[in-house]
């Protein structure tokens, strides 16, 4: 458009307006609510974590051999012989865990500030689908090193499908490509582990598309009323996101260089042995809460159904939450319930890490019951009975009021 003076850029823009597309997506011409806080960093952080996964993963795939007899040694070759192979692998493994952490914070931010409510239900749904695909991708990536934990994770997770009545056994053999987890399983997992991240990229674009239609929600949870409530994404939020990125990279480098195996299990440095299960197998920390839900139910099929339901229930949250007020800031009771729910999720994580017996089994069961109670009973009821605090009239009004006295110049008037 006429914003561009350079004749070459104008020539391109006239034919393919890619620069103005970027500008209207994440640039000066994309306006976002002016009151976004640091919890809104985690979306872009998730995107960057995905990019790190893709970059390291594509290079690792150049050195990895997807074969039952060779996979373990090829990973050790990456660690010992390939130049910087240790760095690439540790980056890949540790940033996958941080990817989950960032996504979980992103989801809890959505739950706290009611970001899932009208008109952002589909945006929320796309996010849950991304979570599901991420989980599948992470699981299959975990299998690739073909150590003991890899092999038995593959065995246990695929066996979840055997809980399905009648056709379960057939489905499991179909997943394995044999009568047990073996080379065919490893090969298809490798192929899918390479494919699914690009599927995630596709869904992320839909997620962003839906985001840009009604823009980000915001900590106050009230709608933007006009330009006075917004600031350009660039430079304000690009720079704010970069600050968060700096912290993210510090944490990532801290793990990669000082505790690269902190989140892993030593047993995965033992080559896969189909004849012996490790004495204590637990999933990666980011799957522990679901694992606790699975084990809380004494019935095989029931456990699997409840575990899937623990994520799938998020699809219904926009309708289970009956309150019209988005932000927990103005919902005194909901805010307390939110924190209890967050503690409940962490408790489930601890229960998932412990052997399923004694006190921890009881705690796991109670936490599971509360998890569903929160969504199915408390969330709808609170919306009815809670009396929310009065909402501010607009986004810019409290901002200006807070800094009354100081000479406040709205950004659009600066120059």
């Amino acid at each position: 458009m006429s914003d561009y003076q350079n004749p070459i850029i104008r020539w391109v823009e006239y034919r393919l307006p890619i620069l103005s597309f970027i500008d209207h997506s994440v640039g000066r011409h994309y306006l976002a609510p002016k009151n976004l806080n640091y919890w809104w960093n985690f979306g872009s952080l998730a995107g960057i974590a995905l990019a790190i996964q893709l970059a390291t993963g594509i290079v690792l795939a150049m050195h990895y051999v997807p074969h039952g007899d060779l996979a373990f040694d090829s990973v050790e070759r990456i660690m010992r012989d390939v130049n910087y192979g240790w760095l690439l692998r540790y980056l890949h493994a540790n940033s996958s865990a941080l990817f989950f952490f960032v996504v979980y914070v992103h989801i809890f931010r959505g739950l706290y500030y009611g970001s899932y409510k009208y008109p952002r239900e589909l945006l929320w749904w796309l996010g849950i689908i991304i979570l599901f695909v991420m989980m599948a991708t992470a699981f299959m990536g975990y299998v690739l090193p073909w150590g003991q934990m890899s092999f038995w994770a593959a065995t246990v997770i695929t066996n979840l499908f055997s809980a399905i009545p009648i056709i379960g056994g057939g489905i499991v053999e179909f997943l394995w490509g044999g009568f047990t987890v073996g080379n065919p399983t490893l090969n298809r997992f490798y192929s899918l582990h390479y494919l699914l991240p690009f599927v995630i990229v596709g869904i992320v674009f839909l997620h962003l598309w839906a985001l840009h239609v009604h823009r980000s929600s915001n900590p106050l949870g009230i709608d933007v009323q006009g330009p006075q409530d917004m600031i350009p994404f660039h430079p304000y939020y690009t720079y704010k996101d970069l600050v968060g990125l700096g912290v993210f990279l510090l944490v990532l480098c801290g793990f990669v260089f000082y505790a690269p195996n902190y989140m892993g299990h030593p047993d995965n440095y033992i080559p896969a042995n189909p004849l012996q299960t490790p004495p204590h197998i637990v999933p990666e920390w980011y799957f522990l809460p679901y694992y606790a839900v699975l084990r809380a139910v004494p019935d095989k099929l029931g456990g699997v159904i409840l575990m899937v339901a623990s994520i799938a229930i998020l699809f219904a949250v926009p309708w289970l939450d009956t309150s019209r007020v988005r932000s927990a800031k103005f919902r005194p009771i909901f805010r307390q319930l939110f924190w209890i729910f967050a503690i409940d999720c962490i408790l489930l994580g601890f229960a998932g890490a412990k052997p399923a017996e004694g006190l921890w089994l009881v705690i796991g069961r109670l936490a599971t019951v509360y998890y569903f109670l929160h969504f199915l009973v408390l969330l709808p009821l609170v919306g009815w009975f809670e009396r929310p605090k009065p909402l501010p009239e607009s986004i810019h009004q409290p901002v200006l009021a807070a800094s009354a006295g100081a000479a406040v110049v709205p950004p659009e008037d600066r120059r």
């Binding site: 970059a55 070759r77 010992r80 390939v82």
Partner: protein, 180 residues
């Protein structure tokens, strides 16, 4: 739009300095972090460990040749006859496309050791095994595009630009040579 960055018309501010400094550090850091990705594509330690090969020459009779593998590439080792040595040494160096006297290409005139990869486009020239065509100069002949090499493996005719490469090697004793 760029003018809006500075905030104050034409005047450089502390903020400008911070932006330039931050961007520079980010750019340098970003570029430096590319290096591990690129370097991982270079030959790995285990590949480099295979970079030398020892050959026992005692079984190679005069007039015979063998092909050995060094770094995954074929290496021709020819036990030359006196006639072949004379031909190689009598060639007028000035007439060659890639002038190099035979003395520079051999440590022991009886043994010619060259990398068997045509300098044109990488095919393996014929002439080592019995019955294969040796070209017009009694050395090797590349079937891909018709390059002729002489008994010192120098290019004499055809599209190849250079002589077959002489690898680094040294004789450990009379009958053992270490390539690489």
């Amino acid at each position: 739009m760029a003018a809006a960055d500075s905030g104050h018309d034409g005047e450089e501010t502390r903020r400008d300095f911070l932006i330039v400094a931050t961007t520079t550090v980010m750019a340098v850091g970003g570029l430096a972090s590319l290096w591990p990705f690129l370097d991982s594509l270079n030959p790995a330690s285990d590949t480099l460990a295979l970079s030398s090969t020892e050959i026992d020459l005692s079984a190679v009779e005069e007039g015979q040749s063998i092909i050995v593998t060094w770094r995954g590439k074929p290496v021709f080792v020819r036990h030359r006859t006196q006639k072949e040595i004379d031909e190689a040494r009598s060639a007028v160096t000035g007439d060659l496309r890639d002038p190099q006297p035979d003395e520079e290409r051999t440590q022991n005139p009886k043994w010619l050791i060259v990398v068997g990869v045509c300098t044109h486009l990488g095919c393996i020239p014929l002439g080592t095994r019995t019955g294969e065509p040796r070209g017009e100069f009694g050395g090797w002949f590349c079937p891909c595009h018709g390059s002729h090499y002489d008994t010192s493996a120098r290019i004499r005719k055809g599209p190849a630009p250079a002589n077959l490469e002489v690898p680094e090697y040294n004789f450990l004793d009379d009958t053992t040579v270490k390539i690489g």
